[in-house]
Symmetry: C2
Subunit: 235 residues, 2 copies
DNA sequence: ACAAAAGTGTTGTTACTACACCCATGG
DNA sequence: CCATGGGTGTAGTAACAACACTTTTGT
C-alpha cells in the first residue's frame, strides 16, 4: 500500500478453502488430485484469484465452479502464507478460508470430490493437514463465544440435534439441556413453538428451535471480565 | 496451491503493520507520506514482500528498516485483502499485521515517523482507520483470554501499572486487585517477591509481578462451557 | 403399563465482584 | 500521626453443572 514507484516481485495469489460440515461427525470437503505433484493425494478446493478480485469472492467462485458448493452459510478468512520458492518455481500467496455448510444442504459434488471425516483423513496434499487443524480449532472457539453453529444447522432443529453437532466439533459429550439454557439466555436461540413428532421408539416430542440471527454474532464479547471496574471507579 | 500449469495473473504482495503500544494511552505508529498519493496523510509502516519471503519476516524487516522498531514482542497476522484495481493500476495483495511493543522499549524513530493516540488519529491514508480499529478489537479480545499483555509491559511491573494498560486498551476502568487475582489464578502472573519503593506521596510499596510466559498463551480456552457433559455422560 | 425421549425445578459449587478493613510508607 | 497508595479477607451474586422428577409419546 505504500505505492512507491519502485518495481516489486510478482506473485500468484491463490485461495484455499477448508469446507466443514457435520453429519454423524465433522467432515471436510476434499478432491483427489490426478496430476503431479502429489498425484493421488487429497487437496483442499481452491485456485487462483483473478486480477482485482476480492479474496472472498474468489473463494466463493472456486467453491461453486470447482466443487459445486453453493450453500456456504459462513465464510471466514483464516490466514495467509507466502511459500518459499526457488528461482524457477512459482511464488504463491496462499490465503486460507474456513467455510461452513449446513446440514440439509446437499451439494452435488463432482466425481473426484467427497467428504472425509476430520478424525480419519486420507493422505492430504501439500501438508494441508495443519490447515484443516487450524480451521477446526477456530470453529471450536467460535462455537463457545458466538452463534457460529447456525452455519452448521438446518433452519429448525431440536436441542438434541444441536448438542450432537457441538459434540462432533468439540469432541466432548454435550448436554442438550445445558446448551439450550445457555444459548437461550445469551439470546442466540429461540423456540419456534413447533414440536417434532416422536421417534419410532416413542418418547416425548422435542421442541423445535431456530437461531435468532443467520449471520455471525458474538454472543459473549469479553469472556473473562464482566465489568472489573471495582472500587476505583468511585473516585 | 493447486499447481496447475495454467497461467495466472500476477500481484505484488505487501504487508502493513499496526504497531501498538501503551504509554499514557493506546498509541499507534504512523509515518507521514511526502509523495502522492495521499501526500501529507499518515500511513501504516509496511512495504513489499520479497520473492519467497515469509510474510512475518517481511513485516519484521520493514519495521526494522523503515521505522527502526526492533523490540516487537508479539506479531500476529490479522487479515489479507486483494484491492480492486483498474487495467493500468498495480494489483496489491495486502496482509495486515498487529505488532505490540512493550513499555520501556523506546525505538529510535526516523523524523517522519511518530506515535499517535488511537483515540485521536490524524488523517490516515488509504482508509486504514479500519485496519487500526481491527487491530484494536483483536487486542482487546486477546487481553481477556490470553496473556497478550506481556507484549505491552516491561519485564516487571505492579498490578496498578498492569491495570492501567488494560484500561487504556479496553476503555474501561480496571481494578488492579481483581485483575491480579484473576490472572494469578489462571497462572498468567507470578509475584517476583520484589517490591517497588513508594512514590513521593508515600503509600505502601507495591508488589512486583512478572508474566510466567513471554510468548502468547491462551489462558482460558473455551470461555462458555466448562465441561457440559451433563447426565448424558453416564449412559 | 412400561420404556424411551425430552423438558423442568432445585441444589450445589465455582468464581467474579464489591466492599470494608488492614498494612506500609513519606511528609 | 495522617494522608496516600496498596494488599487482604469476606460476603454477595450470577451462572454453570448435576440430578431428581415430571411430561409426553409409542408399543
Amino acid at each position: 500500500m505504500p505505492v512507491t514507484t519502485q518495481r516489486s516481485e510478482q506473485a500468484s495469489p491463490v485461495v484455499n478453502c477448508v469446507v466443514l460440515r457435520v453429519t454423524s461427525g465433522l467432515e471436510v470437503l476434499l478432491w483427489q488430485r490426478r496430476k503431479a505433484p502429489e498425484a493421488g493425494a487429497w487437496a483442499l478446493p481452491g485456485g487462483f484469484v483473478d486480477r482485482g478480485e476480492p479474496l472472498e469472492a474468489a473463494a466463493r467462485r472456486h467453491l461453486l465452479e470447482k466443487v459445486g458448493v453453493a450453500g456456504v452459510a459462513h465464510l471466514e478468512q483464516l490466514n495467509t502464507t507466502s511459500n518459499a520458492c526457488g528461482p524457477g518455481d512459482a511464488w504463491l500467496i496462499d490465503t486460507l478460508y474456513l467455510a461452513l455448510v449446513p446440514q440439509g444442504s446437499e451439494p452435488r459434488l463432482p466425481p473426484d470430490t467427497s467428504w472425509h471425516p476430520v478424525q480419519e483423513l486420507p493422505p492430504v496434499a501439500f501438508g494441508h493437514e495443519s490447515a484443516i487443524g487450524l480451521a477446526h480449532q477456530r470453529l471450536s472457539g467460535k462455537l463457545s463465544y458466538s452463534n457460529a453453529a447456525f452455519a452448521l444447522m438446518p433452519e429448525r432443529f431440536t436441542l438434541r440435534e444441536l448438542a450432537d453437532v457441538y459434540a462432533a466439533v468439540l469432541g466432548t459429550r454435550v448436554a442438550p439441556t445445558h446448551l439450550g439454557r445457555v444459548l437461550t439466555r445469551d439470546g442466540v436461540l429461540e423456540a419456534t413453538g413447533e414440536q417434532r413428532s416422536a421417534g419410532r421408539n416413542g418418547g416425548r416430542p422435542a421442541d423445535e428451535y431456530a437461531f435468532q440471527h443467520e449471520e455471525l454474532v458474538i454472543s459473549r464479547p469479553l469472556a473473562a471480565f464482566r465489568t472489573l471496574v471495582g472500587p476505583a471507579a468511585r473516585r
